[in-house]
Amino acid sequence: MIEEKQLKQITKAYLSILEKYESRIPVLDIDDIKRLIGDVRLFWYRQKRNVQYVLSHIELSDEVYFLAGAVRVDIDNDGHIDFVLEGKYRIVNEPFLKLSSFYSGTSSEIDFDYANRYLKDSLIDTIKLLREYPGDFYVLPLEPYTNDDMTEYAETLIKCSDQLLLALFENKNASIKELVETYNSYEEIEDAMLPEISKMLTFDSLEDTKLTIREKCNKYLEEYASKLPLLNSLTEIQVFCMAASQFFMQALAIIFIMKCYKIRPFIRDDIAFNYFTIVTKKTSVMGDYSNIEYFYVYVPFILQKVIDFSGKGYNNAKEHYGNGKLVERVVQYCEEQDFESVSPNVIVNYATEIMEKGSSLVL
C-alpha cells in the first residue's frame, strides 16, 4: 500500500527547496541554475532510500498515475485538470534532474536559451502545482539518478531501442552501425522497412501517417533542429535513427517505470502515446499486458485529447469526475463492449453522456 505520509513529507521538503529560488525566477541566471540543480541533486541523493521505499510499496490497487512523455504538468494550459481525473495519486517525474542533462552539453549541441526558458517554466509550474494543489500531486524521481544506476539504465534503454529499430526492417542488420552503413537515403530506408510499421512511425503528428519517411524526417528536423543543433550535422539515416530511437527510448522508459513501480502512465502527447502503443501492442516487450491495463492509459489519453475539462474548473472537475471516477466508469463500459471493438468515438460519446447527466460519479 502506498506510503502517503512519506510521499507528502518528501514532496513538502522538495517544494521548500524550489521555493528558495522563486524570488530569483524573473532574473534567473546560470549561477542560480547551478545552485538549483545542485540543491535538487543533493536532495534526491539524500532521499534515495526513502524514495525507493515509497516507490517499492506502491500497489496497482493504489491507482497511481505518473505524468509520462512530458516534463511538466502545464497548469497555464489546464494540464492539472486533465491530470487530476486520473487515479487516486498522481506523480510527476522530477523535472530538474532530467533538465540538468541539457546543461552538460556544449552550445553546438544545445540551445541554452531554450533550455533556460524551459527550466524556468518548469520551476514556476512545479512550485504552483505543489503549493496550490497539495495532496493532489506529488513529485518523485522515477528514473535512476545515481551514476551507476543511470549508466546501467541508459545502456539497457539504448540496447532495447536498438533492437526495436533493427526490427523495423525486413532485412535484419546486426547493429545500428551496420544499418547506418547499409542505407544512404530516406527512400532506401522506406523501401527496406516493414510497410505496416513504416506507416505507424511518425515523428511530429499522428496525422503524418500518410507522409513519406523523407517528409516525416523533415518535419522532425523542423521541430527539433533548433533545440538540438547537433541534428544539422547528421546524415539522413542518422537523423532517422535518432528520431526513431528518441521516441522508442521514451516509450521504453515509460514502460520501465510502469513495470518497476506498478503505476500507470498518463500520456498526453500524441507521438509518445503512438510509440507506447507500438511497443506495448506490436512487440513482446510488455509480455502479458492486458487490454484493461492498456485502456487505463488509452481512455485518459483520448479524454484529455477530445474533451475540454477546463471549463468545468479544477475543483468541480476533481469533485465530479476526478480521482479516477470518470476513467473507471469509461473503462468498465469499454470492457462490457469488448475492448477490441471500442473506437475513440465510443469512449468520447460515453464520457460525454455521463457528464451531460450532470451528476457526480460515485464509485
Binding site: R35, G38, L42, S101, T146
Partner: protein, 487 residues
C-alpha cells in the same frame, strides 16, 4: 598497545577512572585532538589535487599555486580562511588554482562547499555533468587514504601546508636546525617507498602539528564532516560467526536422558526425584531447543543459556541444602507454586485484564497451583528462594566463574543492556566520514559466537551433579567423566 589493568584504575565514588580520565589529574587538562576530525576538512582540497593529479604532478602544481598565491598576498591553505577572503580575492585564489590543476579537479568539493557555505567556490567549480555519487566516492577515497595522521597522503598534505607557511614567511627555521630545511626541500623528490622518507615524514608532520592549530577552524571542520555524513551512505559491517556445531555431544545427552528415564522406576514417586529430574529435564529441554532449532548464534541462545546456568545452580544449591534441610525439595516446589499463585490471583481478581490470546492461561495456572494442595494452604514468597541471593548460591556451589563470567555476560542479553545490543544488533559503519558510528542491523544479519560449547560445559556439570543420586550410563561416564570425578 598495553591496556590499563583494572588494578591501575582509580576508584572515586562509584566510578573507576583511568589515569587519563582522573578528574584531579590529567583528565582535567587533557584535550584530545584528531587529525581527521579537526584538520582534514580544511585541507581536503589539497588532498583532492594530489589524489587526482598523482603525487608528482599534484605536488608540482601545488608548488606553482603557492608561489603565485604568495605573489598576490593570499597565501593561505585553510578552506575556512580562503572562504573569508573578499569575493574578488577568493575568485582570484581559485582561478590561480584552476590554472595549475584544471577546473574539474576540485568539482567534487561542490558537494560539500554548497552556496550556503562558499558561494564563490561553488559557482566556479560546479559542473552540470558531474555525478553526485562519483564525486562523493572520490572524496570518500581521499578521506580513507588520509584518515590517519601517519598516512602517506596525509603527510603529503602536511608538506604542502608547511610550504604555504614557509612561502608566506610565517614559518622561520633556525639555522641551527638542519633537518627541517632538508626535509622541506627534499621531501617531494622522493617516493614514499624510499628509506630516506622514513626520516622526512615525521619531520614534515611535526612541523605541520606546530602550525595547524594556529589557523584551523574546528567549527568549519565540524560543518564539513556533517555535510559529508549527510551525503554519504552507511556501510555497515557484519561479523560472520561459524554457525554449525557438532551434534555428537547432544546425541549422547539424548541417549543419557533416555537411559535415566528407563532406569529410575523405583524413584518416580519421590519428591526429590521429581525436583531433580524436573530441573534436569528443564535444562535438557533448553539445551535441546538451542541445538535442534540452531539457536546457538542467536540472542535467544544466550538468554536460554543463562537460564540453563541459573537452573543448574538452583539444582546444585538444593542438593547441597538437602543435608541440612531435609524437606528442601518440597520447599522448592512450594516456593515456585507460590510464585505462580501470585500471578494467577492477580489475573483472577482482575487487577489487570489479560487477553484470551495471551500466553497466560488462568485456568491452567489455577490447576497447577491447586495440584498438590488447595491454594488456601499455598503461601507466596516475595523474595528469593531460601532468602539467598543468586550470587551467594553460585558462591556456595563453588561456581563463581559461572556467575562472574557467563551469568553476568548473559545478564546483558536478558536485560537488554547496551553491550548486548551493540554486539548483537548494532553494526559498525565502515564509512570513515561517519566517524565509525554504529547503526542498527535492520536486516538482521549479525549472528553471535555460538553458545553450544558453553552449553556442553553446563550439561556436563549437571550430569556430574546429579550422578550422586541418578545413575548415569556407562558409556557416558567412560566418555565424559574424568577418573577423579567418577563416583
Amino acid at each position: 598497545m598495553d591496556r590499563i589493568k583494572l588494578s591501575n584504575h582509580l576508584k572515586k565514588g562509584d566510578t573507576l577512572f583511568t589515569p587519563f580520565t582522573d578528574p584531579d589529574g590529567m583528565g582535567s587538562t587533557l584535550q584530545l585532538s584528531s587529525w581527521s576530525k579537526n584538520w582534514l576538512p580544511e585541507y581536503l582540497w589539497i588532498g583532492l589535487i594530489i589524489f587526482k593529479l598523482g603525487r608528482e604532478n599534484g605536488l608540482k602544481a601545488l608548488y606553482g599555486v603557492i608561489s603565485e598565491l604568495d605573489a598576490n598576498n593570499i597565501c593561505t591553505p585553510q578552506l575556512s580562511k580562503i572562504r573569508d577572503l573578499d569575493k574578488e580575492k577568493e575568485e582570484m585564489y581559485w582561478e590561480i588554482v584552476v590554472r595549475y590543476t584544471g577546473r574539474e579537479t576540485l568539482t567534487p568539493m561542490t558537494v560539500l562547499l554548497t552556496p550556503e557555505i562558499d558561494e564563490v567556490f561553488y559557482n566556479l567549480f560546479f559542473d552540470f555533468s558531474a555525478s553526485v555519487d562519483v564525486m562523493i566516492r572520490e572524496l570518500m577515497q581521499i578521506i580513507k587514504d588520509c584518515n590517519k595522521f601517519h598516512d602517506e597522503l596525509t603527510t603529503d598534505i602536511c608538506f604542502i601546508v608547511d610550504w604555504f607557511y614557509v612561502k608566506s614567511g610565517r614559518l622561520h627555521v633556525s639555522n641551527d636546525i638542519k633537518m627541517i630545511p632538508e626535509a622541506l626541500v627534499e621531501y617531494y623528490k622522493h617516493k614514499h617507498e624510499e628509506e630516506i622518507m622514513r626520516m622526512y615524514r615525521p619531520i614534515i608532520r611535526s612541523t605541520f602539528q606546530g602550525l595547524s592549530a594556529l589557523d584551523s577552524n574546528t567549527d568549519f571542520s565540524n560543518l564539513i564532516w556533517n555535510r559529508m555524513g549527510m551525503v554519504s551512505e552507511c556501510n555497515p559491517l557484519v561479523i560472520c560467526w561459524e554457525d554449525s556445531y557438532s551434534m555428537d555431544y547432544y546425541a549422547d545427552v539424548k541417549k543419557t536422558i533416555e537411559y535415566i528415564a528407563a532406569t529410575n522406576e523405583e524413584k518416580k514417586m519421590e519428591s526429590k526425584y521429581a525436583v531433580i529430574m524436573g530441573l534436569t529435564c528443564y535444562i535438557y529441554r533448553l539445551y535441546s531447543e538451542i541445538m535442534e532449532k540452531n539457536l546457538g548464534g542467536d540472542i535467544c541462545g544466550r538468554i536460554i543459556f543463562r537460564t540453563m546456568v541459573e537452573t543448574y545452580i538452583n539444582l546444585k544449591y538444593i542438593m547441597l541444602q538437602e543435608k541440612s534441610v531435609n524437606d528442601v525439595y518440597d520447599r522448592f516446589k512450594g516456593y515456585g507454586i507460590g510464585k505462580y499463585k501470585l500471578v494467577m490471583a492477580k489475573v483472577r481478581e482482575g487487577k489487570f485484564s489479560v487477553s484470551p490470546d495471551s500466553e497466560i492461561c488462568e485456568k491452567l495456572m489455577e490447576h497447577i497451583v491447586n495440584e498438590d494442595m488447595d491454594e488456601m494452604f499455598v503461601k507466596m514468597s516475595l523474595g528469593y528462594f531460601d532468602k539467598t541471593k543468586i550470587n551467594q548460591k553460585f558462591s556456595e556451589c563453588e561456581e563463581q566463574m559461572l556467575y562472574e563470567i557467563y551469568y553476568e555476560y548473559g545478564t546483558n542479553f536478558t536485560h537488554g543492556f547496551w553491550g548486548a545490543i551493540r554486539e548483537s544488533t548494532m553494526l559498525v559503519c565502515d564509512n570513515p566520514v561517519h566517524d565509525y558510528h554504529v547503526v542498527p542491523d535492520y536486516t538482521l544479519e549479525q549472528n553471535l559466537k555460538s553458545v553450544c560449547h558453553d552449553c556442553e560445559i553446563v550439561m556436563k556439570k549437571l550430569f556430574l551433579t546429579i550422578s550422586d543420586y541418578i545413575e548415569l550410563p556407562a558409556f557416558y561416564i567412560s566418555k565424559y567423566v574424568n577418573e577423579n570425578e567418577k563416583i
